[in-house]
Every structure is written in C-alpha cells, then in structure tokens.
Amino acid sequence: MSSPLLHVENLKEYFEIRRGLFGKRGYVKAVDGVSLTLAGREAISIVGESGCGKTTLGKTILRLYEPTDGKIIFRGKDITHLGWKELKWYRRETGLVQQDPFGALPPFMTVKRILEEPLIIHGIKDRKEREERIYKALEGVKLTPIEDFINKYPHMLSGGQQQRLVIARSIILEPKMIVADEPVSMLDASVRIEILKLLQDLQTRYDLSVMYITHDLSTTRYFSERIYIMYAAHIVESAETKELLVNPLHPYTRALLNVIPDPDPSNRFLIKEVPTGEPPNLINPPTGCRFNPRCPNFMKGICDAKEPSLIEASKGHYVKCWLYG
C-alpha cells in the first residue's frame, strides 16, 4: 500500500460552553483523541450512536473547525493549523456531503446555480469550463437527462434526487476525499442502496476516498473496507469490515451487532440482551472506560478506574477495552 492520503493522530475537538451567564466554563469534548488513516480510493466507515461525535470528527478533519489538539496530515502535509488562505487548496481537495440534505440546498437556486457557485468561488473564470464541469458532475451522479434537471429548483426533486445533487456539489471541484455524513439515513430503503452504489462508483471514477459516517452498521458491510466504531468521542474498535463483523471484540460493538435485526420471522420470539441506559454526556464522561456504566462485562475496580488504551488485538484489529489487556 502507498502512503496514506489522510492521517489523523490523536485529534481533539472541544467546544467551550458556559452554564449561565457568569457560570463556570466547561467543555463538550466532542472528539477526544481520535486516530485514523485513509488510503487513496479507500472507503472507511465511522459508526456510532447519536451525539458520539461523528459529525464533529468529519468537520474537524475537513478543517471546518479549528482542532483543539492533535494532527491532521493530508498528502504528507500537516494541515492542522493552516490559516484560511492556505486552506483554499485543501478545500478544493476535499468535499462534504452534509447530514440532512434537505436543509443543505438553497431553495431559491436552480440546480445549475447550486453547482456553479463553488466553481466561481474557486476562481474558475471560463464559463465553458464551468459548464463542462457541471455536466460532468450531473452525469457522475446520474441526474440524467441533464436538460430535465439543470433548471429545476430543489423542491422539484425527490429526496433521492436532492441527495444526488448534494453529492454532485461535493464532487464538483474533483476532490480527492469526501466526508459523507449520513448520506442516506433520510432516504427510503429502496433509494439508499442506489445512492451508496453511486458513491462507490464515484470512488473508482474519480480516485476518490470516502469517509462514510453512519449510525447504521448494516450498510457498512457493503460499502467500506474498514470500520471505526465510535463511542462517546472515542474510537473504541477498528478493523477491516469483514473481520469486525465476524469477530467483534468490544462489548459495545458486540451489543450493536447483536441487536440489529435481519428480516427474519423468528425475531419476534426472541427477547434480546440489550445494555440499558444511554450514552454519557461529553462534558463529564465517566472515568475509566466510557462504556463501563452500561457494559455487561464490567469489572469493578478496573473498568471504572482507568481508561483502557487502544491496543492491537490481532493484526490490524484494534480495541480499547480492559478485557484485552
């Protein structure tokens, strides 16, 4: 394998909050020491429950937030603290498919205008070139015949078509990497697969790397090479997709896999083991392992005493849990 496209090390993103006007200062530690790598043309998934920090991680990597600590290396260049001007290059090389596409599209712009805007911002002055790029992007996301779509407004498009437009916008500058934040969770099952296949297709066509953010473990199996499981701002497990699904190690991952149903009539006769409770808040997370209050394998005096470190349990399979030393 060549050197990775993206390398993230011990990344932290803390949001400052105040309780009340003169209250004590505190931090929401939304991303708290995350490391990962993404190779060229690779797709990885970040999976976790609501509020665990997935969107913040994606946006921090894209430098839409200023990182609190850690390192982001992209194509060998440290971009962690680049200023806005120097970042322009990075913005062209990366794209974001926002969570909630319905809020993401400006209602009074046509499809053409929506796609043209980033091109203008990034100084593509030649009108013909802009047009060519717009056509190429629309073709890429299969909004064809193009003439049927180019002058439409977002509300005239179905949910799936809107999502394809959002994706078209994210690839219009021909980036090397995109963060796709829950790109299909608002869509119906029958359209989801179409959009995910489209992303896969773009990956090969544009030599694109994809960071796929989702709370839905069942789609990752088909669309990513590696899975990172995120819990309360930490990566608690990561491995190649097949390995992780066949041989999950972390009790949280195991719980997730155990409760996600496949369509099967015998499900209705089974009461499942499910950890109770809810994920912790990120202002004052539990000491020790953050999953410890919900963990079926909880070991008193160990799990609540000290934070486990992320260790390599077998080749390429990492886990952050005291069960594995």
Binding site: E49, S50, S158, G159, G160, D188, A189, S190, V191, R192, I193, E194, K197, H215, L217, S218, T219, R221, Y222, L245, A255, L256, L257, V259, I260, P261, D262, P263, D264, P265, N267, R268, I271, K272, V274, P275, T276, E278, P279
Partner: protein
C-alpha cells in the same frame, strides 16, 4: 373469518388539496386475529400514517372522502357517532402512538399530570386512583414511578418513548396502533423499546398495528404483514411466508434493498419513484417500475386471494 378481532374492508380516505385530491388510502383491506401484530410497511408517503388515522378516526379537516368499514369485534367503528366513539373506543379500547410522539409531550407539564389527564377526562377516575394507575403502568414499562413528578425535558429520548407507551397502556386497551415508535431513537434504545413491546404483546395479549418503514425492524413484532405502495396494500401475508418469500414484485424489490448483517446477499434498488397520489396510474400503480410488467398491467389488478385470506394485488397471481 367473520369473527376476526379487527377486520378492515375497502377503507378509503382522500385529502382535499389545492392541487386536487390526494388518494392516501385507496381501498385497503386486511384482518387481524386477537393478540397478534400486523406490521404495515412501505416507503415515505405511501399512506401508512393516513391509514392509522382512518382507523382511529383522527381525520384532518381536509378529508374529502372517508368510506369502507372498520370492524372491531364485529362492530363497525365508522357507524358510531363521535361521542360514543370517544367514550368507548379511542384512548380506551384502541390507543394510538402517533408518529413523532416524542415531541408531543408538553415540556412544562409534569409527566404524571399528562398521564392522568385522559383518565380523568374519559374514564372519570378520581385523581388518586388515576395517579396510582399511572405509577403502576410506568413501572410496567421500566420507568421509576418517581418520574411522575418530573418534566419531559428531564428525560432522555428512550425514557420519553417509554412514558408515551405507558400512556397508551393506561386503559388496558385491546388494540394499540404504533406509528414509527422507535424511528428517532438510537439502535440500542430502539432494541430496548422493541423488547418492551414484545413483552407487552406476550404478557398482556394486546393486538398491535405496528407501522414502520424499516423492513428488518418490522420482523421484530410482526405476525402478519401488510405492504403499502401508493395508497394501497399490495400484499397481505403472514410473517413466516413474507420474510422468506415475498410475493408482490414491489415487496420483492423492497426486500432486495434491505442490507443484512448475517448473510451475504446482492443488494438491489428500485429505480424511479412512486407515482403521485394526486393522479395515480389507472392500471397497476407499480407498473412503470416493475420488472415483470406485461399487457394486463395497464388494468388495475384486483386482489388475488391466496390461501387463508392472504393476498397479492398483482396480475401475476391471477388464477386461470
């Protein structure tokens, strides 16, 4: 068949809008034995919530057509006047958890006060009696009775959903209608709620109409399945048959698009989109997306009965 607990016959409900009539529920029939659960599945906008509202008779003002029959223990609910219906059926024998009910709790009224209101209003219970009932029901759904004195904003999403389910259990109903009861919850919380619903079904023998767009999740409760497409039930089946061998071409394509964790399968999708309910096609409503389309499909397929009252609405199942 006739003594079925719930028997819905040719139910129709249209909305009047500026652009025309929305045929949201268009000739729907199915039945359900006592104590069983029917899952109503289908994609966004196919009419699931409208079907629920037609059964519980919570009709928006702009409803223009409402006809057919909803037989409940042999009684046609559509014949009852509003007063009798409110007194004897809605929120008593049949309860309803609307879609997005999580947001329907009033954040500044204590849980206890919100829970007992219908008991005071419809059941004429005393306040003490009602609070006692509320405490007991909360416990049954796994919420500490101390929460009676808390406000909704102090509760997590999962706890709120439990409270809402408790509210729909207060009157010992015979039938619960649950519209997407877990769709905004996290996977683990969702699984906890599904366990709760299974226990309710098992121990209290309450019949349920479970509405969801999630095919995999529907198999967690369903004894029977109704698949809706463009305002119509296109397949009515029992769980054992349906999850292994869906019959209607739409059901088959839908099943193909469901990713599975435990088996390798080739995923498919349905290109195109469902027709507008303002002016649906005269023939089969799935025809322009159907891989099996043939000459007959330009005519509206009738319900083709298979065994035991189950059916598919598709010309492929016409008997010679």
């Amino acid at each position: 068949m006739s003594e079925r607990h719930l028997n819905i016959k040719s139910l129709v409900m249209y909305y009047r809008t500026l652009r025309g009539e929305v045929k949201a529920v268009d000739d729907v029939s199915f039945s359900l034995p006592k104590g069983e659960t029917i899952a109503v599945i289908g994609e966004s906008g196919c009419g699931k919530s409208s079907l629920a509202k037609s059964i519980i008779r919570l009709l928006p003002r702009n409803v223009s057509v409402y006809k057919g029959a909803v037989l409940f223990n042999g009684l046609n609910l559509m014949d009852l006047d509003e007063e009798t219906f409110t007194k004897e059926i809605r929120w008593t024998k049949i309860t309803y958890v609307p879609q997005a009910a999580l947001n329907s709790l009033n954040p500044i009224i204590k849980i206890g006060d919100q829970m007992i209101e219908p008991l005071l209003l419809h059941q004429k219970m005393s306040k003490g009696e009602a609070l006692e009932r509320a405490a007991k029901t909360l416990k049954a759904v796994g919420v500490n009775e101390a929460f009676l004195h808390h406000y909704p904003f102090e509760l997590s999403g999962g706890m709120k959903q439990r409270v809402i389910i408790a509210m729909s259990l207060l009157t010992n109903p015979e039938l619960m209608i649950l519209d997407e009861p877990t769709s905004s919850l996290d996977v683990l919380t969702q699984a906890n709620i599904m366990n709760l619903l299974k226990n309710i079904k098992r121990e209290l023998k309450i019949s349920m109409i479970f509405i969801t767009h999630d095919v995999s999740l529907s198999s967690e409760l369903a004894d029977k399945v109704a698949v809706m497409y463009a305002g119509q039930v296109v397949e009515f089946s029992d769980a054992e048959t349906f999850y292994k061998n869906p019959l209607h071409p739409y059901s088959q394509k839908l099943m193909e698009s469901v990713p599975t964790l435990r088996t390798d399968k080739k995923l498919g999708f349905i290109s195109g989109s469902p027709p507008s309910l303002l002016d649906p096609p005269k023939g089969c409503r799935f025809a322009d997306r159907c891989p099996f389309i043939f000459e007959k499909c330009i005519k509206d397929p009738p319900i083709m009965h298979l065994n035991e009252g189950f059916y598919a609405k598709c010309w492929l199942y016409e008997k010679e």
